[in-house]
Symmetry: C2
Subunit: 396 residues, 2 copies
């Protein structure tokens, strides 16, 4: 799921880099916003693709509410459903056979839809919603903001001990810490939603096609097209797919068709590029950017007596046919020093998100690895300076 969450408007004036990230000119005094995961760093690849990805829409196209009334998800454009299935087959990250596809305004809307579909209006008590800490900070906001009587945020799955039905969101690779995950609670009355936004080859080795009841994916994290707001759910159970569709119907009467056909086109080009060896495919491109950034970041952090980064096991990636490292979209920076690192980094003009927002200690901060190149360079400079300082001085 997304790397934006509630908080963007709070930082309105602090980031000069978000609107036109490729045209920034940062000064030594500029605030660097590494709070959100805005994936514009993949833009050059799509620019290079030229006309292949260009979409032309006539004024009279796509006017109806309906896309395919024979489908449970009647507003899903068939070409998007086809492109999604083809891409999963090429990448090998998820089983799509005999699955219903529900499209959403980002995977964010689909998580809301899943909560609606998995809760029971007949129950007197709301179903518990949990996720293992550190968990994506948006889940809590989504579960709580409307004070729904259908579901209730109960926080960390590790410490969850209430009886009764529950929903566990399993985020894998995890946001914020990039870990590959399994369900934690494992009780009979539990229902699982797998948020697989980052289960793509640029971030993590693809070890198997996952085969869970509800799996969420996001166009934004797959290709970098966050502005399109397209997500999809692969759903085993017909009734769950029907209720998720109902959620979309009541809350927004479907999902933008323009975005759907654009996503279909771009996912199609991406999938085709993986099958032919004509040029560098998108996953190679985006993997090489992230890999280089992680190497540079680890080089800076390894000099620190205070900071550390998670280590990820190398694993065999079925997609690339090679042993690969993980290069997550966020760095989950840990410090031995017991201070509020979000605040401390902000004094150094770096905006990151405190571990507290993810159900963890403020000794952790989450840092987006998606920033424009200039911002990333400046971040490494500033972090180096902080590390030099902390190595020489006791931090108070």
């Amino acid at each position: 799921m997304g790397g934006l969450e509630n908080g963007a408007t709070n930082n309105q004036n602090s980031s000069p880099t978000t609107t036109k990230p490729t045209k920034t000119s940062l000064s030594p005094d500029s605030m660097i916003n590494l709070d959100q995961g805005d994936p514009t760093l993949f833009e050059p690849y799509w620019r290079k693709m030229g006309d292949k990805c260009t979409l032309v829409i006539e004024g009279c196209d796509l006017m109806s509410y309906f896309s395919d009334i024979s489908n449970i998800c009647w507003f899903l454009q068939p070409q998007l459903g086809d492109a999604i299935k083809r891409l999963h087959r090429v990448v090998g990250n998820a089983v799509t056979e005999d699955r219903h596809i529900v499209v959403g305004t980002g995977s964010t809307q689909l998580l809301m839809a899943a909560l609606y579909a998995l809760s029971s209006p007949a129950d007197r008590h709301p179903v518990s919603l949990v996720a293992a800490a550190p968990f994506y900070s948006g889940y809590k906001d989504q579960a709580e903001f409307l004070r729904s009587g259908l579901y209730k945020w109960e926080g960390d799955a590790h410490t969850f001990d209430k009886d009764g039905p529950y929903i566990e969101v399993v985020t894998s690779p995890n946001n914020p810490d990039g870990a590959v995950r399994e369900a934690v609670v494992n009780r009979g009355e539990g229902k699982l939603v797998y948020d697989l936004a980052y289960y793509w080859p640029q971030y993590t080795p693809i070890t198997q096609p996952l085969d869970h009841d509800i799996m969420l994916f996001a166009f934004s994290k797959c290709t970098g097209h966050a502005g399109s707001r397209i997500g999809w759910a692969l759903v085993k159970d017909k009734e769950v797919a029907r209720k998720m569709t109902e959620y979309m119907q009541i809350s927004s009467i479907g999902v933008s068709k323009e975005s759907q056909i654009r996503a279909a086109k771009i996912l199609g080009v991406l999938g085709e590029g993986c099958r032919t060896a004509d040029s560098e495919n998108f996953f190679e491109y985006s993997h090489s950017i992230l890999k280089e950034r992680w190497e540079r970041l680890r080089n800076v952090v390894k000099n620190s007596r205070v900071f550390s980064l998670p280590k990820y096991p190398r694993d065999y990636c079925n997609f690339t046919g090679k042993y690969m490292d993980s290069n997550p979209a966020f760095a989950w920076l840990h410090s031995k020093e017991d201070i509020d690192w979000e605040r401390r980094l902000r004094e150094h003009k770096i905006i990151a998100r405190s571990g507290e927002r993810f159900g963890a200690s403020p000794k952790y901060v989450r840092i987006s690895m998606f920033s424009p190149p200039e911002a990333f360079n400046l971040f490494l400079e500033r972090l180096s300076a902080i590390i030099d300082n902390t190595n020489g001085n006791v931090v108070t």
Copy 2:
């Protein structure tokens, strides 16, 4: 607001006309779906516009979450905001000066956002939500489906007598009955949301630029582009606009940019067409279609001893500079006979929506005036036959 609401999936197999409405071939046995207001009948106009409305999007365009971080609604594409303001100025239906624009995935999502913005999490009791009957059937679904503790559907504004804060939705012209409306409850603690989806010249005379605190509009009903899922709110109060934006952020992290720039282009062409006299403008075109349909429908109904249609006062339209009739998007058909007309019409292979869904009697049915030409013709034939029958026989 929309004419679709909860129910589309129930009628999945009954409407052959919805997916590709211009290519239907109805037989005498075909079910005609007049339940939803899918505005595809305006398609020929936009086809005629040719390249003027064609949108080209490159693969590297619109990738960021952000559109304009200096705006409260940070995901609103500036060109859409500009096109909305220009069009309202040309049409004269709403004041836009010093207003915040919040864009939504249809006006449906914006109503949800308004409920969130106007309720107070600090209050122990949910704020009451009312609308004068007959009211749009979707409001109840939207208010109730998540069992929110923030707001509570209390039904007909005419009979509402609870103390305390309330929100009244004023739909004008009204869905289902086309009436021009004002607020009904009028108490100090009330907050008003004006749903003005149908306050455009093809449906009703534009008598004044409206100037309310929150006004909702929908691209679908303005131009017929329902598939784009674009709505907008004109909002006086900054804090309300901020909270509506927050709702969008938590529930879907913004709104499709592809749809936004397409809406900007089409609203721009529409506005420009109204200012120049080169060719028939869209409002003249769509008005003439609806006017002709209403005349034909009234011609059929006038022979009936049982059925009647609302009468609308002629009024001076500032936009056209002429006295005009109303030609609503739905016909609100009333029968003297005390039977369930939705069920009776269905026996005659006409799907319409019972008055009961709108807080009214089942002696009323709502009929979409938006159906493809062939379906509308068949509807009139079948209605004539029903009327011939009811004139000769007592209906039981």
